[in-house]
């Protein structure tokens, strides 16, 4: 097994994924460099790295998305490799290219691979040519000409999906059921795609429904070796944003989708870790959706059932590791991930920025929490509002569900609204039964699934008891977190950070 060839790695990301990559580096004795924007100066990923470099202001374009500044930070600190995490520059060919030019290793696909697969439509044409089934729809981009767009949409057939060629994470994507909504949807998708990716190109696909979202974790070496780490099911989505993810995908024969995934990876000359997303109809027919050329948010569920550290494997592949004489791995047990967001399901899932006044992270058998939250941390409107990924492992799916529900019930987040109660509703819902998994199941019953029983008297009684049993001296809330007032008996117990005060 090839050893990791780097002694210092820069992590070009923030939040939980930056922490997660730092930890694997630490396991392997690799020194770490964090990068950050000004409001993140005190963030956990900065504090837990060996070194940290400020990139610029809050706006991602001027910090986490600035290729030149990241390359400069690597040069300045002597980092030999850059791990991009997910989001931000993780699939950015310019960063991979700039790394090659600067003699730095990009922990991800080589620039040529990213350049050749940057456009989702181009990818679709390439994998279709390799015999992989692709979703019906024109293999040309949507025209800016309203009449041509209308004709292409009519040819594709309604309901249809407008997708950003440069898209990902559900951004720049619109479902259109009624031809009357086509232009408004295209305008919104273009604006969102332009804001998120700097590219407004769209394409059309027919809606495959009913269908599940099944994805295959692949890792490819630079000599054409493809290793399959099984299937995940990520059907539990709200408006194309994944909410619950699990591995292995239940109630499916993985052979056909895994073969399609391997063929797609070979057709694109793929290298390093990636995910082939497929839509699978109830009869088992699978359609290629897209290739994600990065480590996925939901990679921990695969790690838990395969007993693998995918970040370590990424670093080994980047060091030249090849697969040839290793046996295939098999999944063991079941893992489910729940994404905890700072958002308010009762108010249309509006993001809920604010200061985290108190956080208690769940623990216990089979529980893994990938998060960068902490009491006193700030959820800013500048970045994604995901607070944590709570992942449960069990010998069976049923055990994983029980453990995850228990862990969510023990999760405490005060100061912002969260979707934790919504996640618990989903875990218990029929829609999460293996036979019922459908990508539109949540959207179809959103009002019902976000409705909660009215708050009971115990909520008011808890608030009143907190005041009555405080002794009247307790400093609470933002004042306590910021340490603006004098210390009190409660804050001195260590649940608030007072270290910034001098």
């Amino acid at each position: 097994m090839t050893v990791i060839a780097f002694s210092k790695v820069l992590v070009a990301n923030r939040g939980e994924i930056a922490l997660r990559v730092l930890r694997t580096c630490r396991v392997h004795g690799i020194a770490t460099v964090a990068v950050y924007s000004e409001p993140d100066a005190d963030a956990r990923h900065v504090r837990e790295a060996d070194e940290a470099v400020c990139l610029g202001p809050a706006e991602a374009r001027l910090s986490y998305l600035d290729v030149d500044k990241i390359i400069d930070a690597a040069k300045q600190t002597g980092a030999e490799a850059i791990h991009p995490g997910y989001g931000f520059l993780s699939e950015n060919a310019a960063l991979s290219r700039a790394c090659q030019d600067a003699g730095i290793v990009f922990v991800g696909p080589p620039a040529e691979v990213l350049e050749g697969s940057a456009d989702k439509l181009t990818v679709k044409r390439k994998v279709a040519a390799a015999g992989v089934p692709v979703i019906p729809g024109p293999l040309d981009a949507v025209s800016e000409d309203p009449a041509i767009l209308e004709q292409a949409a009519a040819d594709t057939g309604y309901p249809l999906l407008l997708k950003a060629s440069a898209g990902g994470g559900g951004k720049g994507m619109r479902r259109v059921d009624d031809p009357a909504d086509l232009h408004t949807a295209a305008e919104g998708a273009r604006r969102e795609a332009g804001g998120a990716f700097g590219n407004t190109e769209l394409y059309l696909e027919r809606i495959i429904a009913p269908a599940r979202h099944v994805e295959v974790q692949i890792v490819c070496d630079d000599a054409g070796g493809v290793r399959i780490f099984g299937c995940r099911d990520c059907s539990m989505q709200r408006r194309n944003q994944k909410v619950l993810e699990e591995a292995p995908a239940p109630n499916i024969d993985p052979a056909a989708v895994q073969e399609a995934a391997a063929n797609a990876a070979r057709a694109l000359g793929y290298v390093n870790a990636g995910t082939v997303e497929m839509l699978v109809e109830p009869d088992g027919t699978g359609w290629f959706l897209e290739l994600n050329r990065r480590l996925q948010v939901e990679h921990p569920v695969t790690e838990m059932v395969y007993g693998v550290d995918l970040v370590a494997l990424q670093l080994r592949i980047a060091s030249g590791h090849r697969f040839e004489d290793e046996a295939d791995l098999r999944p063991q047990g079941h893992a489910i991930e729940a994404r905890v967001y700072a958002e308010d399901p009762a108010a249309g899932f509006l993001p809920s920025p604010g200061t985290l006044l108190h956080v208690e992270e769940p623990q216990g058998p089979g529980i893994r929490v990938d998060a960068a939250w902490e009491t006193g941390g700030v959820v800013t409107p500048h970045y994604d509002p995901m607070l944590a990924k709570v992942i449960a492992y069990g010998a069976t799916r049923a055990e994983a569900i029980l453990r995850l529900d228990r862990a969510l019930a023990e999760t405490v987040v005060l100061g912002v609204r969260t979707n934790v109660a919504f996640l618990r509703t989903l875990l218990a819902d029929d829609a999460f039964q293996p036979a019922n998994l459908r990508i539109d199941a949540i959207d179809q019953r959103l009002d019902e699934l976000t409705a909660l029983p009215p708050a009971g008297d115990e909520v008011i009684l808890a608030a009143a008891a907190d005041e009555l049993l405080s002794g009247g001296r307790r400093m609470t809330g933002a004042a306590a977190v910021e340490g603006a007032a004098a210390p009190s008996p409660w804050t001195s117990l260590g649940s608030f950070r007072l270290g910034e005060v001098d």
Binding site: K171, G188, R191, E192, G195, A196, A347, G348, L350, P351, P353, L357, H358, E360, P381, H382, Y383, D384, P385, A409, E410, T411, V412, V413, L414, G415, V416, R417, T418, V420, A421, R424, L452, P454, A455, D457, E458, V459, I460, L461, A462, A463, A464, A465, D466, E467, L468, L469, S470, G472, R474, T476, G477, A478, A479, A480, W490, T491, L493, S495
Partner: protein
Amino acid sequence: MSRALRRTYRLEGRRLEAALRAAEGRLTGTLGLDSEHADVDVGARRLGPTQLRLDLDGRSVRAHVVRDGDTAWVSIEGRTYQVVLEEPGARAAAAGAEEDFATSPMTGTLAKLAVEPGSVVAEGGELFVVEAMKMEYVVKAPRDLTVAEVRGAVGTQIEQGAVVVTFETAADEETGA
């Protein structure tokens, strides 16, 4: 030692009056909506800086509470609640409100303005779009209305609660203003 409080709270759109006393590990008094008050007699213990345990007729509830200004954040079984202490007079103001403006629901960037002064918008029509964390939120007209004033420019940062669009009042419309 015994301590008591009398408070009016708002929780999930309801208004609750509490008159409670804590003594010897119990919380006693009344809790209710307007004139319908129920007696309260529950066990209440502080377990830690943010944690309490209530015993309600044999049902044990563990809660975490942090107070921030007039809001008490309460977490029970993973669910987060906001309990807001109501100021005297606040209820009357809320009852009479038919607001003549639309505010930004979150801090973010004003991504789109769908109206201009004089625009006539039907209930549910798009007024403006706020973008934050790469998510879009469309603010719609709460009723049939005519736009009086638009504040803020597309691409600029707006705070949560900032007035973005004001509407002509009935009086304005009568005088043709």
